[in-house]
Symmetry: C2
DNA sequence: AGAGGTTACGGGCAGCGTAAGGATC
DNA sequence: GATCCTTACGCTGCCCGTAACCTCT
């Protein structure tokens, strides 16, 4: 009996198939067959029922699953409590929304890389909705997104809010939202939907809302006088300092953006847990520098 | 990290040296070095302090030991609860006192072999004192001896008592213990010592006591009229039926022999635990057949 | 035909034992 | 020198991936 066998069994049971488990574990499907087959041969009992569509647990399999989970838990504990972080190796997949990427993500990556120098990082920047799906499908290990993710399997760590301010091109005079388009976050994002609703109610049906998946592109458009829009002050500070944009008050302020560091609680991952902690610290520190 | 590494670490920590662990695990000493070395390299921390005389645990090592014990415990649970007994392989070392060997040990070996057909058995017959030492030194896994073994690490399962009856050669007339020697269990055994004390008190200083390490040889001597002695009825029944010996009453009866199935509680062994249970069942069944 | 798992087979590498090499008393 | 553990090195066997195969819908 080996950890690999138990881990493989765990994932086959959890994902309901050899193929899915092999994808998740980065193995060929026959390798998963071999591991399960060997484990069953050693135990002398069948632990999985092979049906035409996927697999189900046998009675002994259900029993074993509990022990396997316990094993993997203890193993994680060892890595977490006993091992030297600088020796941990592997691949860690981070997903981030662009706002975070533009804010403190570089600081986070620096800190994380310092604590886990042997871990490779795979970074994806996408909108929160996609990150949420990726997280639940276990395509990423840790996500910085507009959360929380309310699945009960997901751990959410609250991160500092981003307050939104309205910006327009410097010296562009009074803004009439009936004529000047509003540019905002990508469609299908929560801030975008909220902004749409709020503008329809306050300004009326003539309002035009652009959406852009790129924050920096959006701000460039604002600087060019093409549109106006609400953005986190921290991200606008560059263009603000250059005198290309300025703040204005259209009479209301969208609700602040709330982010979380989110990861699956099960199976446990030291890197995800610690990554969430680091993110909280780094984000808080970054947030304090923005209060000036 | 592998089970082998953790198990090796456990035994090195428990026995206080690489060489001792290698002996216990049936490995070369360098193999133990490699396992520990690899484990330390993977964790990135030293877990053992090598001193000139043996080894001691580092801080992390002490922490790891707890987790390792937990792992090995869960692994034993899996083998015990999930695995099919008929698939369990290995070597199982049994030590038995001769009384048991002459009584129900064959029945036990048959039952054990049926439940664990792949397990090789190594049988030693010796006096209880030696079995006790062998057990504590882990040279045997399960002992049937005059117990209990009162070390706190040892589990003892009470087995049916053997009541002693006095036997003499058939038709040899009245027995005078002042002239007829008494033959009994081997010197350095509890029944021998008790018998000596009792005879000195009741019969006087003239009594002669022979001792024999072989029960069947002793009974042959009784049948030959050379001596008399107290023996379990069950073991005497053969010669009794042949009419070579007969029971008599010298006025007192030695206390019954009490046996236990004893094994080390730590580390856990499915085979020893289950072996003890089987022994209890088999011995009880055997005992009932003797009541006739 | 396609989705699922199994069987067959060649190759790479982890881990073993033997043998030699420190270190410390 | 005796007692430990480590290092060096050749070898074996395990386990992986590729490829072909089987079964059921």
């Amino acid at each position: 009996m080996t950890f690999d066998q138990l881990k493989t069994f765990y994932w086959v049971a959890r994902l309901g198939g050899f193929r899915k488990a092999s994808d998740h574990l980065g193995l060929s499907q026959p390798a998963v067959s071999t591991r399960i087959g060997t484990l069953e041969a050693e135990l002398g009992v069948a632990i999985l029922e092979r049906t035409t569509k996927g697999v189900t647990l046998t009675k002994q399999g259900a029993l074993l699953l509990g022990y396997a989970e316990q094993m993997l838990f203890v193993q994680e504990e060892i890595v977490k409590r006993v091992a030297n972080p600088s020796e941990i190796e592997g691949l860690f997949r981070i997903g981030s929304s662009e706002t975070i990427a533009q804010a403190w993500l570089p600081d986070f990556l620096k800190a994380f890389g310092k604590e886990y120098p042997r871990v490779s990082i795979d970074l994806t920047v996408d909108i929160s909705g996609n990150l949420r799906n990726s997280l639940l499908q276990q395509d990423i290990d840790l996500a910085f997104l507009m959360g929380p993710v309310s699945e009960f399997t997901v751990e959410n760590i609250a991160l500092p809010k981003f307050h939104l301010h309205w910006y327009k091109a410097k010296g562009s005079g009074t803004v009439d939202l009936n004529t000047k388009p509003v540019i905002s976050y990508a469609a299908k994002t929560r801030p975008h939907r909220e902004l749409m609703a709020e503008l329809s109610r306050r300004v009326g049906p003539n309002v035009r809302v652009y959406s852009s998946a790129s924050l920096s592109a959006s701000l460039q458009m604002i600087a060019a006088g093409i549109a106006v829009g609400p953005y986190p002050q921290a991200l606008a500070s560059g263009l603000l300092a250059l005198g290309q944009i300025e703040e204005f008050d259209p009479g209301f302020q969208p609700t602040a953006l709330e982010f979380t560091a989110s990861y699956l609680g099960e199976p446990r991952s030291v890197l995800a847990e610690r990554g969430g902690e680091i993110a909280k610290e780094i984000a808080a520190a970054w947030d304090r520098t923005q209060d000036l």
